[in-house]
Amino acid sequence: MAVPVQQPHLRRFELPAVTGVLVREVINYSSYWRSATFAATVEPTIYLLAFGFGFGSIVSTVGGYDYVEFVGTGTVATAVLFASAFPAMFGTFVKYQFQRTYDAILAAPVDTEELVTAEALWVAIRAGVYGCVPMLVAMVFGLDPAWSMLLVPFIAFLAGFGWAFFGIAVAGRVKSIESFSYIIAAVLTPLFLVAGTFFPLDNLPGWAQTLAEANPLHHTVQLVRGAAFGWAGWTDLLRVAYLVGFALVLWRLAIASMQRKLID
């Protein structure tokens, strides 16, 4: 007679489970890093160059900064959005619907909470790196480097974490991949445009300014500008707290959404 298995109790949330999922992502990344890097860096850089030199030819300064510097710092948030919400939405959907990767992972000693956290962590790490690209391009065009800019990858990582959870939460709710069009058109595009990336929000109507204050991308833009041009004290700490809260709320929503999708 075989002896039933004895082992220490596995906790609800375990680092080895998160590591296992991350290892899978890192190994897979070696097969698609070129396309992922291209998509996540070239598009925001084109926005930077188009707006920077397009509007820059008629608007020389905004809020006391050269327009290229203004846009160069702002498009960090755009790069973070492109590198986090989009791959999280599409990647999650493809992995559970078409590749059935999550069925395989959840048959191992990994729970939905660990799976979702690890997937978002990997997306956020990439967003932290890719998010810096527009700022580096802006430096080529005159943005002065500053030591505080070393915090930008961490700001991008924190914002990317929240947006990755947003993407996973959405992916867990939609019935078809085409449904992402609604989210992109009705949610992400307005947030992306009203974040203070390409134009200051000061001249918008009051209600729009109030809405912008709820936009995590706006706080990301402001924090990056703080790192580049000087901090705004407690206001910036509140912005960090807002991004932390955004990530925490979306973390739980993403887990609940995927739990419903993956566990019958």
């Binding site: 007679m1 075989a2 002896v3 039933p4 298995v5 082992q7 109790h9 596995l10 080895p16 489970a17 590591t19 296992g20 999922v21 290892v23 899978r24 190994i27 897979n28 097969s31 698609y32 590749q99 059935r100 990767t101 069925d103 395989a104 992972i105 959840l106 048959a107 191992a108 000693p109 990994v110 729970d111 993956l262 566990i263 019958d264």
Partner: protein, 298 residues
């Protein structure tokens, strides 16, 4: 201390108005291979998902390797290997990378990881394909890799969900040899299948499912003799002749089943009087399967 690797009692799983598993009892003793046999939609795959807590039962008790499900499912999964019905390998990765990923997911220690991957490559007979990307493997190689992936951490229990579905006969036989070798090593196996020959060849015990219930369980030979007797007579002919032979046999108290081009009249060895004319043959598990799960497809 339980002698059962899997014990299910009164398990019910509903999806809306559909009851996929309906009061299922299932025992899998350590060191045996149990076959879950049933037509499509019988509840086999749902049962497999219940065992990994990827589906949560509405009623009933589930114990896997001594752990209560779903509460202690993570512990149980650490010692189970699962081969899914649908291929979910990472197709852009190589054979070795796929195994390495799962060595991490199943928490094989860093010290043992390389050896575990080598062993799994040997089981799958894919050592010379270790650097081949999965999307360049044949269907049979991918299936072998799926099984090897489930074995990378030396599990105590293996769940094989339709392991040979959709494969050529040659590849199927190759996989049977692999599963038989695992069985010979004493690994506990629960295998769902709708291939009767597969269950008959590999399983120590077969549980026949229909509409989410167990309708019979036991060693294949015992099931055959209990439900279909030792011999059958097969009557061939045009549809009218088959209907007539079927009606006559039933009137005489025999069980019958259609085989498409013929009618099989069962339990001929237990007949006291006249035996219907036709070709005599030994009964088999397919006779039992059709008898118990019905001749019509739902």
């Amino acid at each position: 201390m339980s002698e059962l690797a899997i014990s299910l009692r009164g398990v019910v799983k509903r999806y809306g108005e559909i009851t996929a598993v309906n009061g299922l009892d299932l025992d899998v003793p350590y060191g045996t291979c149990v076959g879950l046999l049933g037509p499509n939609g019988a509840g086999k795959s749902t049962t497999m998902r219940l065992l990994t807590a990827q589906a949560i039962a509405d009623e009933g008790e589930l114990h896997v390797l001594g752990f209560d499900l779903p509460g202690e499912s993570k512990q149980a999964r650490a010692h189970c290997g699962v081969t899914p019905q649908l291929d979910n390998l990472d197709v852009m990765l190589t054979v070795e990378q796929n195994l390495r990923v799962f060595a991490h997911l199943y928490r094989v220690s860093r010290r043992d990881r390389a050896e575990a991957v080598e062993r799994a490559l040997g089981i799958a007979n894919l050592k010379d394909r270790r650097d081949t990307r999965v999307d360049r493997l044949s269907g049979g190689m991918r299936r072998r890799l799926l099984i090897a992936r489930a074995l990378v951490h030396r599990p105590r229990l293996i769940l094989l969900d339709e392991p040979t579905v959709g494969l050529d006969p040659q590849v199927r036989q190759e996989l049977w040899a692999l599963i038989d070798a695992l069985r010979a090593e004493g690994t506990t196996i629960l295998m769902s299948t709708h291939y009767i020959e597969e269950a008959q060849r590999l399983a120590d015990t077969v549980l026949i499912m229909s509409h989410g219930r167990a309708v019979a369980a036991g060693p294949p030979n015992e099931l055959v003799s209990e439900h279909a007797g030792r011999e059958a007579v097969e009557v061939f002919g045009p549809p009218a002749r088959l209907a007539e032979a079927e009606a006559d046999a039933r009137a005489a108290g025999f069980s019958t089943r259609r085989t498409g081009t013929s009618v099989s009249i069962l339990r001929i060895d237990q007949a006291n009087g006249d035996v219907p004319a036709g070709e005599r043959r030994p009964t088999n598990l397919e006779d039992v399967f059709v008898l118990l799960t019905g001749e019509q497809i739902d």
